[in-house]
Amino acid sequence: MRVFLKQLRPAALILLVMIVICGVIYTGVMTGVVSLIFPQQAKGSIITITLKDGTKKDFGSELIAQKFTEPKYLIGRPMTVSNLGPASDAQKKLVAERVQWLRSLDPGNTAPIPADLVTASGSGVDPSISPAAADWQVARIARERGLSEAAVRATIKRYTTGRLAGFIGEPAVNVLKVNLALDGLL
């Protein structure tokens, strides 16, 4: 026990030192460095747009999904975190409801729906959908906005990122940026 008590003093002192080094200095210096070299990313990649009247307006983070339900917009993934087993009855019911809702926006489209559009992400705010899920919505958006499908496709393509180096991760379409562009803001 005496051996143990004798360790308490250096233990407390080294903890203090570590709090200063790893908690204060490391966190502080990293905050400074990152704010300096990546100011936009450090503060949440907020999309700020200068409007026609010259005022600036925030449209939220490009990395956080927003809810889109109107047919003229590109619609993103369901914004919940279910934690349900993929084969559970509750999950099957949810997916069926989402399928039905998407089809009600575009009754003529009978093509099967890409899976990411009717399943929830892990974060509930996935900013992206797959290129296939965007493609499934092109005809509807073009019709609603009186644009050509080619124009809608071109906008989607502009905000699509490919796999890193061709094989890491998956291609993704940023839903918010596409919609800002469709509205003529971006």
Binding site: N83, G85, E170
Partner: protein, 561 residues
Amino acid sequence: MSTVIFQDIFFLALLIALAIPLGLYIHQVMDGQKTFMTPVLAPVERLIYRVIGARPDDEMKPKRYAFAVLAFSLVGFLFLFVLLLIQGILPLNPQHLRGVNWHLAFNTTASFISNTNWQAYAGETTLSYLSQSLGLTVQNFVSAAVGISVLFVLIRGFIRHEKETVGNFWADLTRVTLYVLIPLAVIVTVLIASQGVVQTLAPAHTSTTLQSASTVTTHLGPAASQVAIKQLGTNGGGFFGANSAFPLENPTAFSNFIEMFSLLIIPAALCFTFGKAVKDAKQGHTLITVMVVLFVAALAIITISEHSLAPHYAGVIASGNMEGKEVVNGVGASSLWGASTTAASNGAVNATPDSFTALGGMMMMFLMQLGEIVFGGVGSGLYGMIAFVMLTVFIAGLMVGRTPEYLGKKIGPFDMKMVCAMILAPPLLTLIGTAAATLAPGAASWLNNTGAHGFSELLYAFTSMANNNGSAFAGMHTNTAFTNLTGGVIMLLVRFIPIVATIFLAGNLSKKKIVASSEGTLSTSNLTFAGLLIAIILIIGALSFLPSLSLGPIADFFTRL
């Protein structure tokens, strides 16, 4: 599928390629040799020794070393516990969060002291920036450094002979933190921040949405610096509730790759440190081979299950199980992360394990249930693996009727007792915890899924805590007094029983002579031995967990066929 396979192969090849130089560098740090960082860091190191009044060459006997580890963890525990309780009246709390309730504070503290980082909390709505940086970030560093220090002690047990001492804990802790963890964390912070992981002390940002002009909140904070060490130190506790599935914690394919890579690099490197230290590189190669074989097998099962065994929904393209996964990661990178985070005792997630297919989720559970030794936690994974090596040597010795020895050290009864404590603590605590939770009143109301999958949630929770992993089938409501308290105690026991056993094992080995190997010595660096080791690991894991896995994921799989 072919890009996914290519991604996996590239990941593993790069991992091994960079683990070798890092492992050799860590060996220099362990030995107190000069490294390329010495000119910068040596003055800081000396200053630390002066402040705490310790000498790095003041060699400790096992008892003193163990007490130093426990004393350091105790003061760390008290500091973090109090910090969480009183964060409401402290600065750097722009969201005006209140103090954490006592049982959640106990659980979170136990979890970070023990390098588990189980998340009963949701960072953005529970913890102030002060608690995150002075509390969690600091424990992310030092709990990782404790694990690596204890591994150094065990390695010294093999290379020393007729000595009573095993090193100086304060020096080990300081060197690992300064020379290994901080430089790597700085690199990773900058890399992931470039992708959009936030790093600011500014309060959460609110703006209006495009379609309906309703409010959308962007939670901010000093996240990148904490996420870097959370991955590198096999900690895994997220800055945000959704962990690395949350876009501001892991926004792109590149950040995902870096974070995934960070969580395996140190455990992989330590295998080479070990080989270098015992002056027999092949010993390290054998261990990493065994780890890679088990890892690849589990990864293949998870990937195939997520890719091909996903349920088919009417009117939906069958393209793998995307429930709970981010588009940018897809099935491939989510499966690779799932295998990595449970093989290492990291526990960070980039998708929700609860929504994995039954067999995919089962393999993640089984990787933990093997005792977190397939890579495992930083330091703790390798000392756990060495315990299995000694058990294998012992069993092989019994079969051929020779005194078992490993690296020239004869293995005696005391050594085997310590090995048993190291190997048996995790499965025993997993099963006791699961059984207690199953019998607890109201347990069914904590569950999100029903039937066999509901039991899987309970089993996963206690598997994760009793192996210091920290990931969860997160649908389960875990922030209850019962799970917070039992889980907290289990995390502490399963961390410190093996640590104390490892230190005393090292002390006992250090006293022994090194015997020259003869023709009759069992080789521990050939493929036969690697095969035997894999068999022992799988047998212990399967014997301990087949019954409970049958009630959970296996039943889940068959009932949904």
